[in-house]
């Protein structure tokens, strides 16, 4: 609105991957002759890389705008659709918007995305399956990149919803990429449907927001700028539910939109699709289910920070769900035996951290952790992919071990990733996790000490399962079959080269967000670069100051508990590898519970899915439709036929004399009636 600079370059950021995807689609579907590999690679990776370059240009342009002016670049394309009259008119525009927050997101998506695209060249090349489709893979990946960029660059909630559903679609296509396997197709469908449950809440949130503006009499719009501008008009309104309670309107809107985030970012109770999403190729897991798509929920909450900062109840719910999810998922991760499933639950857990921060008002912390998580989780996934390739598509860590000798580069980068996620000093995860814990500790959310404690405990568990994974895969003696082990080697350079910049970023990425306490040691003011950058986007928040000593104490505690986790993992999986089996045997019930993911999937199936299908079949289809409605219609027809044919036809006796008699009787009756 005010002082927004128009920048037509923005449209190319999402458009380039889209054009690449369309080209691939046409090549596969219409031309039907396989495009040379080099062109596919150049087009896919090139388009994403170019998007990255343009994002950097936009970023630089943004920096050039002085901080006190409005740092926003917009690219209004056209009006998508609209209906209504006067002030109640609803319009959804196809317009893009770059401000400090979306610039950061765009850079992460395109930057990490390009690295993963390069990695995929090597990963998918190895594919000897029946339904491979090298080009098809990149078509979907480009389509995904397009959707994700639309999501982060959208100017309004409806366009964001387009990107939101678009990434859901691509996730579906990519998880079920090797569709000949029924299981993969099932996992893809599961992801889409569970996401859709979240989208239901998202839609209700949009409607409620719009309706609130309408009833408040302000010009209604769902553009982020519009919402921010008119937000004051609805900030204090309440809404009465049919069962008599009164809620604050912004709380309800926030919660509805958060349901969407719960679905997309895999929080309790809609996280169940993410572990199953590991059925897709590993680059997909890295890009979609670690770095970008699942972070969309976090992005959405931060985008609407002005709403959530005025909705304490919604924020409280977010923080608690985030914290509980973090702990819950971490406990499941400690017993998983598939290398990707460990990382999947780890992602769910780390996403919980981000929501914990956002719920406590630490939006910078959430985004900071989003960025660092993108780095080290993508690294870990890609590293895992490298391991999987080396082990000829073996994913069970019980059959690995001793790989440090065979794939040293992968081992080193994996070490960096594990180091970062555990929050060991001065890696990226260290700074971001500390910031989250500090925010939780100082927040005004009820029970924030408990939140802090949960976060701290989870940090320890995180370190434990991460190093458990590392030791089981790389250390000790191998448990793999001899020939598999002998043949294990580093995959192609396409696969290994992108790992290096990610490892580097995992280690030094924390420099983006060095807390003030360290800066003041060196006498530097405003050393938290990310906070400075993003500060203008958030609403002014009451600063929760934590004493220096407390903050240093918390940092120490976090490192200590991470070291504890590391030590336990070291003991159990390095020093005395026979212990875990004994412990599992002793605590067999607990172990079974955790290893089977607390039977949540089975619970959902038994309580929701199966009853619904049975209800639909037995009661609705056979009962109501076939028996009741059709029965009535057919029964009515039979009754009419019975009466008409059965009854009335007996009048036709065929005997002329009968007819004569009835004629005479009738005539006599008429005559009697007329003459009486």
């Amino acid at each position: 609105m005010v002082n927004e600079t128009s920048e037509t370059l923005l449209r190319w950021i999402p458009l380039l991957p889209l054009l690449a995807a369309v080209f691939h689609g046409i090549a596969i579907g219409v031309v039907r002759r396989s495009t040379p590999r080099t062109i596919v690679i150049a087009l896919s990776c090139g388009s994403v890389a170019l998007s990255f370059v343009i994002s950097c240009i936009a970023f630089i342009k943004l920096i050039d705008i002085p901080p006190d002016a409005s740092r926003v670049l917009v690219d209004p394309l056209y009006t998508w659709f609209g209906a209504g009259i006067g002030t109640t008119r609803f319009t959804a525009d196809l317009a893009l918007r770059v401000d400090p927050l979306s610039a950061v997101m765009a850079l992460v998506v395109t930057g990490v995305g390009s690295l993963i695209h390069v990695y995929s060249v090597g990963y998918m090349d190895d594919d000897h399956r029946d339904d491979r489709g090298f080009q098809r893979f990149f078509c979907y990946m480009n389509l995904f990149t397009f959707s994700m960029l639309v999501l982060v660059l959208a100017d309004n909630l409806v366009l964001m919803f387009l990107g939101w559903e678009g990434v859901g679609l691509c996730s579906y296509l990519l998880i079920g990429f090797w569709y000949s396997d029924r299981h993969n197709a099932y996992c893809g469908s599961k992801a889409f449907i569970v996401n859709r449950v979240g989208d239901f809440g998202f839609l209700i949130g949009i409607f409620l927001l719009f309706a609130s503006f309408v009833s408040a009499g302000v010009p209604a719009g769902v553009g982020f700028a519009d919402i921010a501008q008119n937000f004051a008009a609805i900030a204090d309104r309440t809404i009465a539910t049919p069962w008599g309670t009164t809620w604050r309107l912004v709380d309800v809107i926030g919660l509805c939109l958060f349901v969407g985030a719960v679905g997309k970012s895999a929080q309790i109770p809609l996280y169940v699709w993410l572990p199953d999403a590991m059925a897709g190729p590993t680059p997909v897991s890295a890009l979609i289910h670690a770095a970008t798509m699942v972070t969309a929920g976090v992005y959405m909450v931060c985008r609407l920070s002005f709403l959530y900062s005025a909705a304490p109840l919604a924020s409280e719910v977010i923080a608690w769900i985030g914290a509980l999810t973090a702990l819950f998922a971490a406990t499941i991760a400690i017993a998983q035996t598939d290398i990707k499933k460990v990382l999947a639950y780890s992602t769910v857990s780390q996403l919980g951290y981000m929501f914990l921060a956002a719920g406590c008002g630490g939006y910078t912390g959430a985004i900071f952790h989003l960025v660092t998580h993108a780095f080290f989780k993508a690294l870990l996934f890609l590293g895992a992919g490298s391991v999987i390739l080396a082990m000829h598509h073996e994913q069970d860590i019980r059959k690995m071990g001793g790989l440090r000798r065979r794939i040293p580069l992968t081992r080193v980068v994996f070490f960096c990733g594990a180091y970062a996620i555990s929050g060991f000093p001065f890696a990226s995860g260290f700074f971001s996790k500390d910031e989250i814990l500090a925010t939780a500790f100082a927040a005004h959310v009820p029970g924030h000490e408990a939140l802090y404690a949960i976060g701290l405990l989870t940090a320890g568990i995180t370190a434990f399962y991460m190093w458990r994974l590392y030791f089981l895969v790389f250390s000790g003696e191998t448990r793999a079959a001899k020939d598999v082990y002998e043949h294990a080697h580093e995959p192609s350079p396409w696969v290994t080269h992108p790992l290096v910049p990610l490892a580097f970023l995992s280690l030094v990425g924390g420099l983006l967000g060095i807390p003030q306490i360290y800066g003041s040691v060196f006498g530097i003011e405003h050393v938290h670069t990310l906070s400075n950058w993003l500060g203008a986007v958030w609403p002014p928040a009451p600063a929760h100051e934590v004493a220096r000593e407390t903050e240093l104490l918390m940092t120490g505690a976090a490192v200590a508990i991470a070291l504890t986790g590391f030590a336990v993992a070291l003991q159990l999986y390095y020093a005395r590898p026979e212990l875990p089996a004994r412990i599992a045997a002793r605590l067999s019930g607990l172990y079974a519970l955790v290893a089977n993911k607390y039977y949540v999937d089975e619970l959902y199936d038994a309580v929701i899915v199966r009853p619904l299908v049975r209800l639909s079949d037995a009661v609705l289809y056979r009962g109501v439709d076939a028996a009741l409605i059709d029965g009535t219609a057919n029964g009515l027809a039979s009754a009419v036929q019975l009466f008409a044919s059965g009854g009335l036809r007996r009048l036709q006796s065929g005997l002329a004399q009968g007819y004569v008699a009835s004629m005479l009787a009738g005539t006599a009756a008429i005559l009697w009636y007329l003459l009486r």
Binding site: A83, F90, V158, L169, I193, A211, S212, A216, Y621
Partner: protein, 537 residues
Amino acid sequence: MQDLLTTVTFLPLAAGLALLATGILARAVGTSGLPDGVWRAVGFASSLATFAISIGLYTGFDPTETDYQFVQHVPWIPDYGIHYYVGIDGISLLLVLLTTFLMPVTLLASWNDIGKSLKSYVFFMLFLETGMLGAFVSLNLFQFYVFWELMLVPMYFIIGIWGGPRRIYAAVKFFLFTMVGSLLMLIAMLVIYSLFQNQTGLYTFDFVAPPSSNAPALLDTVIPTTGIWWQTQYWLFGAFALAFAIKVPMVPLHTWLPDAHVEAPTAGSVVLAGVLLKMGTYGFLRFALPLFPAAVADWTPTMLALSVIGIIYGSLVAMVQEDVKKLVAYSSVAHLGFVMLGMFALNVQGATGSVLQMINHGLSTGALFLLVGMLYERRHTRLITAFGGVAKPMPVYAFFFGLVMMSSIGLPLLNGFVGEFLILLGAFLSHPWFAVAAASGVVLAAAYMLWMFRRVMFGPVDNPENRKLIDLDFREKVVLVAITLPIIWIGVNPDPLLRRVEPSVSALLQDVHARAAAAQPAPARPAALALAGEGRP
């Protein structure tokens, strides 16, 4: 220009009659009549020509004008007020375009489908097209009824002759269900006719005043809300609503639809789902809402409830179907539940979304039936259990199916989303809880569609029959591309269409609201959201 509508409406029938006459003449002079191929080609060409001419309607349409355009009024039986009166506004424009677009696509799709009596088939299809177009453009109530009933005859034959094993049952069921409602509607029409005659002394079936005339028309009848029961708005609306609700179809009057769709040949299904079902919704919007505003206001909660039930019930029953075509049929019930929901939200957003969704449903469900038909042609079965892994031998087919399926479940960037969103938004603005319930249809639609798609397309190719499947040939690709392009285009850029629909819809709704307010002073309605706080109540 004046005759454009008449041309568009009657060109198909004229072509059919011309072919018939030529054939008879040819036989009279000794040859064996026109060969089947000529019938097919000329039939297709004439439907294509109708579409081309109807584009002239689109370009010549003035979006800012809320009155009817391309109007033509010819007295027919003046003593009874039965005239030939046609005209279109934004709503009927889109529906006319949908009809003229779907017919050539359908004829092209069924090029090789029909084994016997091809000439009769082509004739019936052309006859059907005229019937449907006539119903959409009629502004004289009697004429509308004539076309309404006229549509049933060719459809009955198409289902009954070229259909599946239970075609007779399905055709008779379809005919009887629709007829029952229509008869009640006829009685209601006559009641209104006589009321009008009592009030103005004039005899007319014209719905609105003919051009350049200030004579009152049927729409101006003051239909009482109290008094003799069969003259009140509530019962008359009930009669009209019954006829239209059977056609929509609304639960619980929907059971003719699955049978009719499953037994009908592919082309019949496409036309049935694509256009005939819209007759019901169109009838509601054009006639029932303006004529009985007070009754509409009273009946709104019931209609909304039935719509929501339709959405959820349709989706749930679709989930447990084993026949793909029946699944798509039940999904139609669910989709049209959305359309009715938007309409009875009685605001511009909802009603505009409703009209757009009529078009969207025609395109995407029509495409789904075409796709199912292509599969049936190859394997002569529609049972889901007979398939599995079809995407492997038929990847292009799988792509089109996936795209149309995504449109059907309302994925943004495809057409279904825009309509669904506007409908839910409109419904939420006036009756939020109904909208919340209906939005669950979004999840259910994804559930049943994806489950079916997975069982048919994905997984290993277990059945050896499926390994031999041949992918789409050129003609099929043309058909699918033709129907997919508007699906994508409307999703990306729906605004031009909405610009044309909105003025007519908002004028209609303003009319309805004005009459409802005039008929009875509305009680102070609490704001739908019961939002409190500073400012307005």
